[in-house]
Symmetry: C2
Subunit: 291 residues, 2 copies
């Protein structure tokens, strides 16, 4: 494996971020907008993307490996920039991480609850919806709050395919998924997958001005900033943070797509094999067999 470029001491340590693929770079975009001086080390598990159609047990194993890999860089904070990974492994990662962990569910839920007294809609992957993580997080604070979660399995492949918000197919698919949410007319709609902000314009048009869109990516970035400020851990630089990426699939292709998702080019993209990640696994015996 490459020796890390970004590891450093104290407040110069990087913020570590991982996702199943490219989607988490929307969190990086928000992080760099808010704190352009921070170094970021990012892992995108593109060889095993997407997580959202897989079982929570499998996603937990992958997410634990991703987190273990990033811990090698001695980061000052770990960001789980994938809603499915948060739903499957947020607590498990927090219980073993030596550094503070920020996920993408809790900040989005807080932002949604703070923005409306009305119902809250959630669009997310199949696995996230199945986990009921949003439902539980919202109703832990407000048990009577109306929540409607809708799984949107095609949105990740649509974004990964590079279709624009003007594409008629995108609108056709969104109409199909958002039908019940349009009828519900929620006060807030959480974009509960880090790919979805790239379709935020089209989703906003379909939902209308009464529904406030909450980007879990932006909310997570704001939470990272708040916690770094609170513990006086912000990098003293005000600009020039380095974005260093690792991917489990082709690094050239990853590098090409970094700008679209992350808003800027990566300073470097390195390959790390899933075989190497698997050696970091906390063995998981949760998958039983059936006959």
């Amino acid at each position: 494996m490459m020796l890390p470029h970004v590891t450093s001491e104290g407040n110069h340590r990087a913020v570590a971020v991982f996702d199943s693929g490219l989607g988490g770079l929307t969190v990086v975009r928000s992080l760099l907008e808010q704190m352009p001086g921070e170094d970021i080390v990012y892992l995108g598990d593109s060889a095993r993307v997407p997580y959202g159609i897989k079982s929570l047990e499998t996603v937990r194993r992958f997410a634990m490996e991703d987190a273990a890999f990033l811990s090698r860089f001695n980061p000052k904070m770990l960001v789980v920039a994938c809603n499915t990974a948060t739903a499957a492994a947020g607590e498990a990662i927090r219980s073993v991480s030596k550094v503070p962990v920020v996920d993408v569910i809790a900040p989005g839920v807080a932002a949604a609850l703070g923005s409306t007294d009305g119902g809250i809609g959630v669009v997310a992957t199949e696995a996230t919806v199945r986990s009921r993580a949003y439902q539980r997080a919202i109703q832990a604070v407000d048990p009577d709050r109306e929540v409607l979660s809708v799984a949107c399995p095609l949105l990740v492949p649509i974004v990964e395919e590079g279709r624009s918000e003007e594409d008629p197919i995108v609108n056709h698919v969104l109409c199909d998924y958002l039908h019940d949410l349009q009828r519900m007319r929620p006060g807030a709609l959480i974009l509960g997958c880090t790919h979805y902000p790239l379709l935020g314009g089209a989703i906003g048009k379909l939902m209308g001005p009464r529904t406030r869109l909450i980007s879990s990516a932006a909310a997570a970035a704001a939470e990272v900033r708040r916690r770094l400020d609170e513990t006086d851990q912000r990098n003293s630089r005000s600009a020039g943070g380095r974005l260093e990426c690792y991917t489990t699939d082709n690094p050239e292709r990853f590098a090409e797509l970094t700008e679209r998702f992350g808003g800027r080019r990566a300073d470097a993209v390195h390959y790390v094999g899933t075989d190497e990640l698997e050696t970091l696994s906390t063995k998981d015996d949760a998958n039983d067999e059936t006959s």
Copy 2:
């Protein structure tokens, strides 16, 4: 790992089949229709599905692991029931396999060439199209044959989501992908992904009666039968073959979906972890890093 149930001697040995997930079960369906007495051992790499959006290097590594896993069952034949895996690793698997290998590209190409003197269209995954495997296979036989390959990245997630051929979104997406192929009016259209036969009705309607649809799944099954007959290796049973499945993700979910793709229930579905598969990997140094 489970001790295999299906391993046996001589002609009673199983036919081993693998795919990135469920799609390869369409090959199993054709195999069992043609040879209901054969035992099948199937591996679906559902934890890392889909292969078709990933680099050929990564797919090759996964496919080599899948093939190595199935070789433990001492099969009489190995079927690479995934076009992307064939494109990425067909030759590599053949070069290390101790038993005959049937893939899903060569039989489909032979069937297409035999069915028309006109142009040949191919619909396939992004990785398969990028590999130019169909183009090369067709033009190796007939260098002047007109070939048009179109990548259809959304079709695998659409099939995996369970959308029917009557779904307006399915037709909308198919119209988008098939536009150039409709203009070409090919004599044959190869369904170059084992998921696509489940959309064969809708694709056939859009292409019209002049274009013959070639299912690479059915063509591969016919090739397996031909080669077993040729070498006198058919199971002496005429019915009652056992279908034993392994999956790298949740076996309950896999078991539920087996019938839709494979036309019958599996006799058993077992879990095998990708961490176990990774230990079978022929290490691949083809992924370089870029900065």
